[in-house]
């Protein structure tokens, strides 16, 4: 797939996507929305004839000390087999403990022990699917005192041990850096850029904590903000273009708004100065 811009597929837009001629380069589905039979799944399978797909799983809980839920993994594998997506991704997080799910991307302490566990779980996922999976940096609202690695060091270790790719969510970098008092440039410096296979862009909101400080919430409910577009340009300069997705999961707007955001990303990708990409230099 050539580096170009796609959109997250929302059920509200399925019918319109089947009709329109101006189309995004690819669409991404959340795996867990299409594991059961439904009219929506049937439409997605029809769309597959005309669109490149990426599959983004949110419930495999790759950070779980319990390991991967094999029954759920089997269902995801069946969907991947049906859709034959260009890219598959999951998150550096956990959401399940002793059989109970929490429907959130929960934070991990970045320790060697956790790295062993996540690398084992990612390895199990890739073995089951028979292909590489990209792991996405999450949005962080807190850090653990007993972490011994930075997030980027953890991702670097994960790439080395499991052979996974990276999905660099640029909004998440912005959110995490703000919430934990980090410099996005420092965060990016430690990242193995050559492992990045996809970018995500999304909107966030801003809340105020009791001490008067602000915290950014990764809610995927608005347009990509200026700060994130600016960081995207910087990332393109550092690592070069990759397929880029516009995510929008709450307060879903008309399809035209998502396509407009994708067009913005397309322009940024086209304007990236490939001659001076830091990674390639």
């Amino acid at each position: 797939m050539l580096p170009s811009a796609g959109i997250g597929l929302r059920s509200q837009h399925l019918d319109e996507l089947l009709r329109i001629s101006v189309r995004p380069a690819f669409v991404e589905v959340h795996a867990e929305n299409y594991l059961r039979p439904s009219p929506s799944l049937e439409k997605v399978l029809r769309l597959r004839h005309d669109f490149e797909f990426s599959v983004h799983a949110v419930g495999l809980s790759l950070g779980s000390a319990d390991g991967v839920d094999e029954a759920h993994l089997d269902q995801v594998a069946r969907l991947v087999d049906r859709l034959q997506p260009t890219l598959i991704s999951e998150h550096l997080s956990w959401s399940c403990f002793e059989g109970r799910y929490f429907n959130d991307l929960l934070p991990l302490p970045y320790t060697e022990e956790a790295l062993d566990i996540v690398a084992r779980n990612v390895g199990r996922l890739q073995d089951r699917l028979g292909r590489q999976v990209a792991i996405e940096n999450p949005s962080a609202y807190l850090g653990f005192r007993h972490s011994t690695l930075t997030e980027a060091e953890f991702l670097d270790g994960l790439v080395r041990r499991s052979g996974c790719g990276l999905l660099l969510d640029i909004n998440n970098v912005t959110v995490t850096a703000h919430n934990l008092g980090l410099d996005p440039a420092d965060w990016l410096n430690e990242l193995p850029g050559e492992a990045i296979t996809q970018f995500h862009l999304a909107g966030h909101t801003r809340n105020v904590l009791d001490d008067g400080s602000t915290i950014l919430i990764d809610d995927h409910g608005s347009r990509v903000c200026v700060e994130v577009w600016s960081l995207f340009d910087e990332v393109l300069q550092r690592f070069g273009p990759r397929p880029t997705l516009i995510e929008w999961d709450t307060d879903i707007p008309p399809l035209a708004v998502l396509l407009d955001e994708a067009a913005h990303a397309e322009r940024a990708l086209a304007n990236a100065d490939l001659e001076n990409v830091a990674l390639a230099a």
Partner: protein
């Protein structure tokens, strides 16, 4: 101090379930004044997002009681019913029983049946699309072999009997519905809930029709189901009923497995 990943996740899970975890709070870096607040963001997100998923699965219940009250119901339900699957549309199988047990809280005797209808629509929506019998399929069949035909509701379909007019309550709950009051004395009702090409839907069945379908789904052939339905409803018209079922694409051939 929490050291292992398992210990950290056990404490975090307990926190998300509403149990305070001072040891977990102590492991959160940065300003101690905001550590608990940062953890609470996750607790609130879980409650809010699972509550929203439940409201999406039970839209009629949510419309009847209002989003605010539904949030309270959902919070109570979540406290006692773990999410055991990351596929959110699977959550809520026992919500109708919960709603029935909470009648003191909401005071609506029909609400549990409304929840049963919402869940039945959810199950039907997530059923595979099986081929349906049509009048054209049966046009060439000899009359005597037609009477031995076995037919059933498609997978994911169900029948709901209620003392209340669930069809009218559902209609009144639709966005923009002109009706804001339902005559509860308009019940009882029997509904067949089934998957259509683009959605899930229900139809109201007359007593004879309901009996006819029940016996078909039990594995009885058309002739036997007709006989039983005629005993239930003296005015049962088998030809009209079978024609209506075929027109609705409500039946598939074969017996239930």
């Amino acid at each position: 101090m929490l050291r292992s990943l398992r210990d950290t996740q056990a404490a975090f899970a307990a926190h998300l379930c509403g149990h305070d975890q001072p040891e977990l709070v102590a492991t959160i870096g940065g300003d101690s004044r905001t550590a608990l607040q940062r953890l609470q963001l996750h607790r609130h997100h879980v409650v809010r997002s699972v509550g929203a998923a439940l409201a999406a699965t039970f839209p009629t219940v949510a419309a009847v009681v209002g989003q605010e009250f539904f949030g309270l119901l959902a919070r109570d339900f979540m406290a006692g019913t773990a999410l055991e699957n990351p596929v959110l549309s699977r959550y809520g199988e026992h919500f109708a029983q919960f709603v029935a047990a909470k009648q003191d809280m909401h005071g609506l005797p029909y609400l549990a049946d409304v929840a049963r209808l919402d869940w039945a629509l959810n199950v039907a929506f997530h059923a595979g699309l099986e081929p349906r019998l049509s009048a054209a399929d049966l046009a060439g069949w000899p009359q005597d072999s037609l009477l031995s035909l076995s037919a059933r509701l498609p997978t994911g379909s169900s029948l709901i009997e209620s003392a209340f007019p669930l069809d009218l309550i559902w209609q009144a709950s639709q966005p923009g519905a002109p009706v804001d009051k339902v005559d509860l004395a308009a019940g009882p009702v029997c509904l067949a809930i089934f998957r259509r090409l683009e959605d899930a839907a229900f139809v109201v069945l007359a007593p004879g029709e309901a009996a006819f379908i029940k016996y078909l789904c039990r594995g009885d052939p058309l002739a036997t189901a007709t006989r039983y339905a005629s005993q239930v409803a003296k005015d049962f018209d088998p030809a009209a009923t079978f024609g209506r079922m075929l027109g609705l694409r409500l039946l598939t051939s074969g017996t239930a497995t």
